[in-house]
Symmetry: D2
Subunit: 438 residues, 4 copies
């Protein structure tokens, strides 16, 4: 990597999350000497890019670190000789997400950003863009690491492994760190005394075992959860408690998104109620974002505002900055990321993406061996992996029948007929972002 | 095997299906010289045993074959030195099945004999009985083959592999032969010109490829099905058509039971309507059986009555008799049966039961290698296998939490909370047949 | 396939084996109506082609079957619209084989046609030719089946799977049928009462279990072999008895070629003695062939001469004709052939060639599932598979280091240094047939 | 673990290596507060135990750490409530090793402590003793970790996994750390800048990739080795250079013991020469040990003498102490150890022992996922694993045929006949330590 300091390119730099990331880089400047941070966005996002980029400049100035912030709409310039490329964009913006959430509900099917029909369509819109970015990276920064936050991160990472030759990619999610924080809170201890063995897929990850100071406390934590002392959910997911007997027999920590699969009818009822009363999550977030950007405009604001925490992406910045720092410094610490399976999880193909604890080195993440997943979850995890693979194929080929197959085999979709109705309505609704299906 | 001719013991001999079986044995007498057929039942079934047993005697007499029919309530006598033991019993009779069908419907969940909560409870009632029969077989007829028709045949076979040391068992189902017959009809050719590569699990088997005179015609058959020229279902399953695009992308023949998984909401709506209008399938069958036994009583009846065909077990007799004949005569022909995987299907553990094409030899079935199942179905099949394994464990242990886990991970059950409600109501409803849960 | 009758193209048609093949086709004419048999050879083989081809014409005439024999040096014409292509050629003829046998002996290493350094070099010479033939087949007869007798058949089949897209190929060997015949002789019964479960690789195949009339008699057969009542070897392999205790613990039938691996030092001693006294096998065969071609010239000879049996290829014709017949007629019988593993043998990659019992259909061979090989042989079989794969890579790439790696990991080669010496001498000796290494 | 400080029991405490271990414990006292070190030996070893034990006491005294050294012949007392049990015993002492080395040489087969016939017999003598120790541990210190140095460490660890229920075991070897040190020397850098991805089996481990400061330098290191700048061997293994082309194609670092497999004939020639001239390694070591114990007797000696380094067990103490320290302190650092595979290496059963990089935690080692081994070594590694498994079975059962099978499939043994001759002579020579074979 460059002697003069690191160059980072952030695609979707106009995101409201950017101050999180900038704060993270500032805090770690000593070990992670970033000299250039390029915030890239598309013309439609220029206004937001300018607002958030100016805040970023003020933050850097305030902190007194020699990091230059570049704002640009030119992908070539942003990517040229980058050491790390991070992605946090949203094709179609929150309007598209709102459709992903609203349309399935009409058919009594979960409408969600990364799961079910919504996750499928977010993938169909995003994957071609990511593959296009990778083509540029092959040319402009072939030694860079791609740190992908863009959702659905599992499906996107799968698509990169299956449909490109790029291997320097890590998919990142804040769900595992959220679980770890939840455990620490439930046990009322410092988070750094907790270790969780994570394994599964993105948004379908299990805490296989939990350790406190190296001692296994899985059962205690499950008891805390089932006794109602701890809820372990996230900002964007309704908090409904688990059946104690089910969780005891499962004997692992589910992630918050598992509620969509193990509590489908309950979650659907909640979703419908919320959509009617306060709007879908996208609609709530749209309002939040509006307020955030108002704040960001304030030229006296020179640090990350507290209100950003409501946005739901807690720990994203920490996850990303820690990952980049560990790769750059060859730290060899353990982090749960999305990477190539390589046999780590027995029930999933070696050449698929998984979310699993890895040693983070300069050579990238090296997964810890998990062995076969417990019998109880092997099927569901494989089913979501199948969904991701077929969805990625449909995203690349634009094949209608493949998209229908992906939609039908998704466990949240209740029939092939319903799948077709939702597919047709969503293809129409999102058609400007789905040229491959024309 | 015995020089004097074969001894067959049929457990649940008072079943209305028995005349099918007897007819099959009579037809094959030359190659399969059965000298003794023991029909065994429990005291509660004595009346039906007498009626159907007497019909069996008249059939044998009419055919002029030297086969002795024995009616007994004594398991020891029936099993002693048997060459083949067939099972076709139903713990709790059709009343229990009616509950399996009715109770889940209250919770908007499919109520079905072998799938979902109904299948789970049929397994919980049946598995301990089968394992008990096996203990007797180990003592009384250690060289016999157990031919299991008792449903849920996949879960029962799995339980035998996992919870006993008995390996001379074959699980049998009429679904594959039904599919083959349906294909022949769809293509308007003789059935013996059709070959189907079957693979999957019991009641979750796929026709991976179809051949007419050795030439692959899978696509043609799928076109016939999706164009509405062929429905390919069974007596006990509502006939709802498949989405053409879904089936084309799937590129395999689903089995009729797949409707419960790929058309869940449609099937549920139909089921609820039927249950309200004409009763559940068990209730319809109860009426049919009453009429059949009236017929059977007629002493002038000396052959299998035509009305038996309505009962829904078409081809069961053929499947069973062909299997026994091929084992006895070491025929080496191909039949789809439930047997130990041994690596035949890549996505399922080697030591689990699968339904797959096998060569049938005196040494039992030898599965043909399938390789990995297509990505699109790998998850669902694994999920049902997980369900079967955990259900079998719960059946043996009587552990409430395991039963709840099995119920919750079943794809037809919509949430852990609903699972608990159904579980509790069904445990209560079936408690006299579930001593292990007391 | 063609209405007018089948067209077969035999590459290496001038081989002394051809009369075997012709006899086999004549005998099966009723079920396998071959109208054209094209015998193809290279200019250097024209004389032998003419001699053997004319004998073939006389045989067909004598038999009175309407099969036309074509002799040609033009590959295009031979392959055009062929239904089956059989290969039985030998790049470099018996002279090359003599070198394969002689050179390693100088370094105290087994010199053998298909094993060790000799097998490696036969592969290096043959694989590029086969891949070239396949390129022509893709153009001239894309629906034909390639029936490969050319040795080393395992390595050649592996090379086709790894380095071409052609999948309609079956590798064929007479070793399994030889074992079956040996068992029949040992037990003094008709061969058709014997069934052997074969699994492994070409020239490294095991009889996992043996059945007489469907009853397992493996132990009896092993006792016969170890008691010296049966030797179970082949014309071209020295007959040295097995250690009884070893074979009992192995509990499978080794193939004759296994002697090179389990009796390396004994076989080497024998080989060296034989090479000194009577010449290597190639040299013996050269003499035999000379005599055979003298016989073939005799215009009064109108049937296959008995003397051909000494040549060592017993059952090759039967194996080939039965295979072609079963494919053409979709017979569904069981034959041991070299085909794609597809998970049939657990210890070998799904996409590698294995030798295993298959159902033979119009759609080609479908392997029976074997599961994992016994622990005792899993390593050796995998090692030979590794050797075959790396050898195939070296054959295609002409990479010296890859060839050295293949040679060194072969279990018959005693060190990397020896490997290099043999490699260098053999590369020089065979250089005219190894253009890829120039 | 005990509040008062740790208790360590060292079985074979009279070994000449003990001062290494004691030095290691003293150095780490601050982080690894051992209060009691129990040195256990058998009556035949009492004299050596007293000598080395007294040296240990002087060392502790000199260092001024509050660690009590106990010398005992009573296994119960030593094991009672131990936190860690280390084993470093040698059944039959160096006399037995000398036979393991001498006898095979008579038959032109490698005679070596842990490989070939010698390794087999060391396993046959050792495994029953280890399994007996484990029975005591189950009773006396069920929470202890067993740190096994006793060779053949791979076979012993395999035997524990296959023939006991004890899972808190780690097999330890100094080979990986030796390779790492060799690499550091070859590159002339500090060892802590080097990281090696180790995978394979004990004494059959490969350096899959080498990193300097996190950058992959495998090719450079291979070039150093093949250019003769670095030899990378160990005290007890003759240093013969590798063929450059072979190593380049292999593209991994072999371990010193690989010479026995890839340079068999060269190593055999060297061994025979050395045995004739200076005695086998055991005989050399016997002399060394005599000198060492003379030194140890010197009451003025109060630290580990330098001469111990000639003994050949370099880094053993570091490997052991670092492992114990990391388990006790839940360090999560990476160490190469022998542990349960759990899918880490794709080509080896999940329930076998492998030598692989692991994260070391209070919960024991957690292996990093390797995926499938490269094709080139998959076979050899599997073959040694098969050898280890069958040898372990023979060690437990005392079955002659199983022992013969193990011997015959070992790649260093040249034929089943030779195997039998060696087996018979060694069974006789070692009979007092092989009661299971009587």
């Amino acid at each position: 990597m460059s002697k003069k300091g690191l160059k980072i390119a952030t695609i979707g730099g106009g995101s409201s999350y950017t101050p999180e990331l900038v704060e993270g880089f500032i805090k770690r400047y000593d070990s992670l000497p970033i000299s250039e941070l390029w915030l890239l966005d598309i013309p439609e996002g220029e206004e937001k890019l300018t607002i958030v980029g100016n805040l970023a400049k003020r933050m850097v100035e305030e902190a007194g670190v020699p990091m230059t912030i570049h704002l640009t709409l030119d992908r070539e310039k942003a990517l040229q000789d980058a050491d790390f490329v991070t992605t946090q964009f949203r094709v179609g913006l929150l309007d598209a997400r709102a459709k992903d959430e609203r349309i399935p509900l009409k058919y009594d099917v979960i409408g969600q950003e990364t799961n079910g029909p919504g996750g499928l369509f977010k993938g169909l819109r995003t994957i071609p863009v990511i593959l296009d970015i990778i083509k540029d990276m092959e040319r402009l920064c072939p030694h860079a690491w791609l740190i992908n936050f863009t959702n659905p991160a599992g499906m996107v990472t799968e698509a990169i492994y299956r449909h490109s030759n790029w291997r320097k990619v890590v998919g990142l999610c804040n769900v595992p760190v959220g679980i770890k924080m939840g455990v620490a809170k439930a046990l009322d201890v410092e988070a750094d005394r907790i270790h969780v063995d994570f394994a599964g897929l993105n948004h379908m990850v299990y805490g296989m075992d939990v350790y406190l100071d190296g001692k296994c406390v899985t059962e205690d934590v499950i008891n805390k959860i089932t006794s109602g002392d701890s809820s372990m959910t996230m900002k964007n997911i309704v908090d409904i408690g688990w059946e104690p007997g089910f969780l005891k027999a499962l004997n692992m920590l589910p992630c918050p998104y598992h509620r969509y699969y193990y509590k489908t009818s309950d979650m659907l009822a909640e979703e419908k109620k919320n959509a009617a009363e306060e709007g879908t999550r996208a609609e709530v977030v749209q309002q939040l974002e509006k307020e955030l950007f108002e704040l960001y405009k304030d030229e006296t604001l020179r640090t990350k505002p507290e209100q950003l925490e409501k946005r739901g992406g807690a720990y994203y910045s920490d996850a990303a900055c820690n990952l980049i720092d560990s790769i750059y410094n060859d730290r060899g610490d353990i982090q749960p990321v999305n990477t190539l399976n390589k046999g780590a999880i027995g029930s999933i193909p070696d050449d698929s993406a998984v979310e699993v604890n890895c040693i983070i080195t300069k050579d990238g993440p090296k997964p810890l061996a998990v062995g076969d997943l417990p019998v109880s979850v092997r099927g569901l995890v494989q089913q979501i992996k199948s969904f991701e693979r077929i969805a990625a194929e449909a995203a690349v080929s634009g094949d209608y029948d493949q998209a229908l197959l992906a939609m039908t085999i998704n466990p949240l979709v209740s029939s092939d007929t319903t799948a077709k109705l939702i597919l047709d309505e969503m293809l129409e609704a999102h058609k400007e972002y789905l040229p491959q299906f024309q």
